[in-house]
Assembly symmetry: D2
Homo-oligomer: 215 residues x 4
């Protein structure tokens, strides 16, 4: 019996589907994670590129958008165990360009910037409060790394009972093996996996863009 | 460049080491996860067997011990998105033997039983409060599944700034591919990986068992 | 300048209003808190009585209902600092009738029972996840004590960005001074204060009962 | 029977005492809360003055120190229900001097600055993770307002199982009635109440200052 068959037999890997009010969460697409000499590499640049169209589609439909950045205190006051495992993280301070969202995806006014120190976009942040304020029931995620902060954010998104949609081609990782292994885990247990194009098509049904609505 | 080399070049995979006051967290070693016809299979039975000696060593040293169980309400009142992805979870109610800790590891009085509905042992539980009360700074984890609730609990353990030690041979999964992929991720980013025997040896340095102290 | 004038001058005490999808949260109306020889007294019995009509109105409209109970482990494994301040709390174990919801308000199937160890209904529980699953944006609270678990739950409700409605005559306390002082604080900063009758009237606008809708 | 007698009879108001590793948490002593025309008034200025000596004593003993500030996004992206109740809060943005710690208490390098949007210093922040990293078991609190963010932080401190010490004369409020009512509630249920001088005396026993140790 293949590994996939084990999951099927145990009735995992079902679709949790869409709610009515999605938000887009763009995880850690910051300069330092798009630089192969720092935390980047693999298929991250491609995932950023694919996220652009999805971001545009969300903005057209006034779907709430949040971005995460890793930001530690300048003086290291909040460095923790994560910085012991991966010391480079501590360099990501407020004014270090490595911690800024990549220029291709620059947030616009009213979009929510989450500063975080841990893998999950929810941990030690006000993301859940913001989602409640927006009336969101579904989180679409793109970002990096698939095996790191995306995976962690998806687990918390599930745990808070949001429907999770992971953009297969909008998430990336420094290494392809972990990228694929984590897509498998998320698809089986925590999230529905769709391409950016499939997500845009679904959004058209859920929340028509104003221009389309006028036609 | 191999995938491991990418992580090395980015200075990941360092050891976070031990603190002074460890606790043992045994994740979801319940009957339903030790039954290949339900949620079990793979190397879970072996991991339970390996946990026995580690549990004994912790009890001898009065190291705090916590167990997790997945427990949903009898009437389904708290079923959530996780139950949409994996509907069998909702059968794990308080009195269903599938949700009870396996007999080989039966908790003794004073050990803490965490009832949870989500992957992480921390989410929606009082585990962090209990760890604070015990003065713990290091969490040793065994349990299942490696790619599910162990991984999720390790991320939260890291995020709360505990040192995480994952027992390589004390964690198990229904399928070996995800088991190994998740050990890799955890070792690179969140936890130190040691065998049960290595952990027991380390405990002897940190917190001698009463009998040994008397020698 | 009176104290109330200070708050007015600083532009506090505004109404946060209603959202579209309320839930009813009944905090700690358990036998031990309705017994003046244990944790009860003051105006708690009266608040329980007033909650009955509100509970009926919510049930008629299929508004989600949650109850909290204080429940500690039989063996004291999860006793914490709260039990040092108020040792009697540790007696509230799963099977102790003192920890059971009062008979006047017995939950029905599908209503969510939150077991908690701390003041807030949210802390160490899955209440926020449940509220997300129900699509709730507004929390109506009754319960006891006003100065204890109601106040703590209202702060967390606000912090998660729910609109909070506190039923003035549906919350009670063992002593009237703290009851009134905490109603003042909550009304100025965290919640809108309405009587049970005013809440029922508002519900009629928000979510008509099926019978009324048919008229 | 007086109200205090009710609490005594129910065995509340016990001392939870000191642990071994305290931290000092200074809540919202920022310019805007020390200005009677904004959020200040009452006895806040006096509480700031009393906090100075306590802060010095903690620094001498290398006791970890954290400060909170209320900080909302410049563009209002994270404004929530709290801003509906008290709209002035939304003016407290990163660069607004009203959101900066008062000059008398300016943080030094290595002290932790918590940016928060909700009443509790813990909510949506990494304070709990920082406390775990420092090995803290006891939180000494000063700050303002007693009836607002101090009270909320004390509840969460208790819920995470820290021992809470509230400095009676180091906490202040815009109005004295709520100040006193909340000291009463906290002393009965959540925290031990001591003066700054009593706290300094206790610290001498727990953690001698280097100079004293050398004598």
């Amino acid at each position: 019996m293949s590994e996939l068959d084990v999951y099927k037999k145990q009735n995992m890997g079902n679709q949790s589907g869409w709610g009515r009010n999605p938000a887009l969460l763009v995880v850690d697409f910051v300069n330092g994670f798009n630089d192969p000499d720092k935390f980047g590499g693999g298929n991250i640049a491609e995932a950023i590129d694919n996220t652009r169209g999805l971001l545009d589609a969300c903005r057209e439909r006034s779907i709430p958008v949040a971005f995460t950045r890793v930001v530690y205190a300048d003086d290291g006051a909040d460095n923790g165990v994560f910085c012991l495992k991966a010391p480079g993280l501590a360099t990501l301070t407020e004014d270090n360009p490595d911690s800024h969202v990549v220029p291709e995806l620059t947030p616009v006014a009213g979009e929510y910037i989450v500063r975080k120190q841990q893998p999950s976009a929810f941990f030690g942040t006000s993301l859940h409060s913001w989602l409640t304020m927006q009336g969101v029931d579904t989180i679409i995620q793109t970002g990096c790394t698939t095996s790191g902060c995306v995976r962690a954010s998806v687990i918390d998104g599930l745990s808070y009972n949001y429907r999770n949609i992971v953009a297969i081609d909008g998430v990336g990782d420094r290494a392809i093996g972990p990228h694929e292994a984590n897509l498998f885990d998320m698809g089986q247990k925590y999230a529905d996996l769709l391409t950016c194009q499939e997500i845009i098509a679904a959004l058209t049904h859920i929340k028509a863009a104003p221009a389309q609505a006028a036609e």
